[in-house]
């Protein structure tokens, strides 16, 4: 191939320094969205360009990288990003949560608790939690500056008034270190409790919107709620058909044209590890959905 030779992890060192400065600022002000000069990346906006830039900037030759999308190492986008870094940085990659030093994720936090020294990099589509209440950036930045979060509570209250529940099931807003309201990226609210007091560093990169933010290790992160309507973590009424887990987030898989379906762990590493340890599937037929 006559393609030009790229720097370690694709980005040039000047760009990495700029991104690292943004990351440091983000860590210093937990939950605050730091603007950064996001670059064009060789994958489309929306595919994780923010996460990729953050990962590229923190990756060293000794790092071991894991990439997941929807909890799985094998989804197309995760495979593509993993391949990108193994090609441009030559780092070792893994599917094991505990073995990884850097984990880039889209839409999930691994089931296995993270440890000190690990970094979880989130891909973020819309970093602004207030965006759907107020589309203008000039307004939302002012609202953050003044901690003016009443609008968000009104939205959650309207949900309760209308549906009897807070009708936000993913990208559920949180308050970081009692100061900034933050969008945790579109993780299911099932994962929200894992954000708080986490031993690992959590970095969030939004490429198209040009923002980086962070939750430093052991930071308190509270999901927004009301005293009489406390935050309810999502619970499945099913268990994984492959490993029998009852404590993991499950994906629904359609198995035929009649609507038969089964549930399996979204975190494939967790599921495989459980099966390897002998936790077994209960043999069961897929359940059909007629008339439900």
């Amino acid at each position: 191939m006559t393609a030009p030779v790229y720097n370690f992890a694709y980005l040039d060192e000047q760009t990495k320094r700029m991104i690292r400065r943004a990351i440091l600022k983000a860590i210093a002000i937990p939950g605050y969205q730091v603007p950064f000069a996001s670059r064009e990346m060789p994958m489309p906006y929306g595919w994780g360009t923010g996460g990729v830039q953050v990962t590229a900037s923190i990756l060293g030759p000794e790092d071991v990288l894991k990439v997941i999308d929807q909890g799985s190492d094998d989804t197309t986008n995760a495979a593509s990003i993993r391949k990108f870094f193994s090609r441009t940085a030559g780092v070792r990659t893994t599917t094991s949560t505990q073995e990884a030093t850097v984990i880039q994720t889209r839409h999930r936090i691994p089931e296995k608790p993270l440890t000190e020294g690990q970094v979880l990099v989130y891909q973020v589509p819309i970093p602004e939690p207030l965006r759907f209440l107020e589309p203008r950036e000039t307004e939302t930045r002012r609202m953050h500056a003044l901690s003016e979060y009443g609008l968000m509570h009104v939205k959650l209250y309207e949900d309760i008034a209308r549906h009897g529940h807070i009708a936000t099931t993913y990208a559920y807003p949180v308050k970081v270190a009692e100061r900034y309201v933050m969008d945790p990226s579109p993780i299911p609210k099932f994962d929200n409790p894992k954000l708080s007091n986490c031993p690992a560093l959590q970095l969030f990169g939004a490429g198209r919107e040009k923002r980086i933010y962070a939750i430093p290790p052991y930071t308190q992160v509270a999901s927004l709620d009301f005293e009489d309507h406390p935050f309810e973590p999502y619970r499945h009424d099913a268990q994984c058909e492959l490993c029998g887990a009852t404590d993991s987030y499950l994906d629904e898989v359609i198995t035929d044209d009649n609507g038969s379906r089964m549930f399996v762990c979204s975190d494939t590493d967790y599921c495989e590890a459980r099966r390897a340890m002998g936790d077994g599937a209960r043999p069961s037929a897929a359940t059909a959905e007629h008339g439900s």
């Binding site: 191939m1 994958m43 799985s72 197309t76 986008n77 990108f84 965006r131 549906h163 359609i254």
Partner: protein, 369 residues
């Protein structure tokens, strides 16, 4: 001296000759054939067919060649040809559930019968310029697998069966055609979808994007996107049954959107729909998002964003109309401009006269004191 009053006809002829000349370019470079355009610029052909509302690859390729690669100009050429064709009638509703699948993905379910079929897609390519492609490149035949035989109609239909998504209302009335009847507001969904299907990809893309960024948000999931061939049938009065006319390649996007519910109606998902000729997921997805945004009022949502404003969207989506009116500013406007110029000179003269008289008054007053 610049007094170009005569010789317009000759100037136009010469300009056209020059256009033909630069269109052909360097004669030592081989001329493009329509087959080459059809095969190697296939997505451009798809777009021109879609926005030109005419399914004919050869004519679309010709239009692209004639338009020097300017796709809106090519759409224009195709539309101008289409308008001369007689209209025999309307086909039977096409059954996209029976599509011969080349690509079919769902972002809502991890797996579904027949699996996720990626097909020919840029999605997971790394956008690194492939310098090998600059030279002639021998491309190996792609690996093939037997076609899926497991039937699977659609994700939306499956959800509808469980009541989880709204039923699509079937209209038995005649299908509208805005190429034959002027559009009036409020428009029915058939005309709205026709307008969007013909609408400019870039315009719909920007509108769809604006809904994602909070200007009329509607929480979309790509329930299903499929691309492949679908048979077209036409009911022939003379023989009393539907006869096959052939097949067309289509991209269909069914979006699954935020649920609504009321005191009398259980919460459920709502839908947006996109359908275009050929392979164009960007257009089909944008169309589905904008279609859903335009249903805001019908679904009792707050509607203040541009993408939710039917008149705004449908009146400005057509790129042939838009480019015509924007570019018409190049035409001579000497007469109007002359009268504006005359008025402006008069107003300025009055302004300065007023100013001078104020100054004179002030000077007189000074002298008097």
């Amino acid at each position: 001296m610049y007094v170009a009053v005569k010789g317009g006809e000759r100037a136009i002829e010469n300009a056209h000759a020059l256009l033909a000349d630069v269109r052909r370019g360097d004669r030592s470079v081989p001329e493009l054939t329509l087959d080459q355009i059809d095969q190697q610029l296939a997505l451009g052909v798809d777009r021109v067919m879609s926005e030109g509302s005419l399914y004919d690859r050869e004519l679309a390729a010709l239009a692209i060649k004639q338009a020097r690669g300017d796709l809106i100009e090519a759409v224009f050429l195709l539309r101008a040809y289409r308008t001369t064709l007689p209209r025999f009638g309307v086909s039977e509703p096409m059954d996209t559930g029976a599509m011969t699948i080349r690509r079919r993905i769902s972002a809502a379910f991890k797996d579904l019968p027949g699996g996720q079929v990626l097909g020919p897609t840029f999605d997971y390519t790394h956008r690194l310029l492939d310098h090998d492609l600059a030279e002639c490149d021998d491309v190996a035949t792609a690996p093939a697998a037997p076609a899926q035989t497991q039937p699977f109609r659609s994700v939306a239909e499956l959800l509808a069966r469980g009541g989880l998504i709204e039923e699509e209302k079937v209209s038995d009335g005649e299908v509208g055609d805005l190429t034959r009847e002027p559009l009036s507001f409020p428009a029915n969904r058939d005309l709205r979808l026709q307008n969007l299907a013909r609408g400019d990809e870039g315009f719909l893309l920007a509108l769809a994007y604006s809904t994602q960024r909070g200007y009329g948000r509607n929480h979309p999931f790509a329930g299903e996107i499929r691309y492949g061939e679908v048979a077209v049938e036409f009911f022939a009065e003379e023989i009393g049954f539907a006869v096959p006319l052939g097949s067309v390649a289509l991209t269909e996007c069914q979006s699954i959107n935020q649920f609504t519910g009321s005191a009398t109606q259980a919460p459920r998902f709502t839908r947006g729909y996109g359908l275009v000729f050929g392979q164009s997921e960007r257009k089909a997805m944008s169309m589905a998002l904008v279609d859903r945004a335009l249903r805001a009022r019908e679904l009792g949502e707050e509607a203040g964003a541009p993408a939710q404003d039917e008149e705004f969207v449908l009146s400005h989506s057509d790129n042939v109309q838009a480019t015509g009116f924007v570019e018409h500013l190049k035409l001579p406007h000497y007469v109007d401009f002359q009268s504006e110029l005359g008025l402006l000179r008069k107003l300025r003269a009055e302004f300065f006269a007023r100013e001078k008289s104020v100054e004179d008054d002030a000077a007189m007053q000074d002298a008097a004191e």
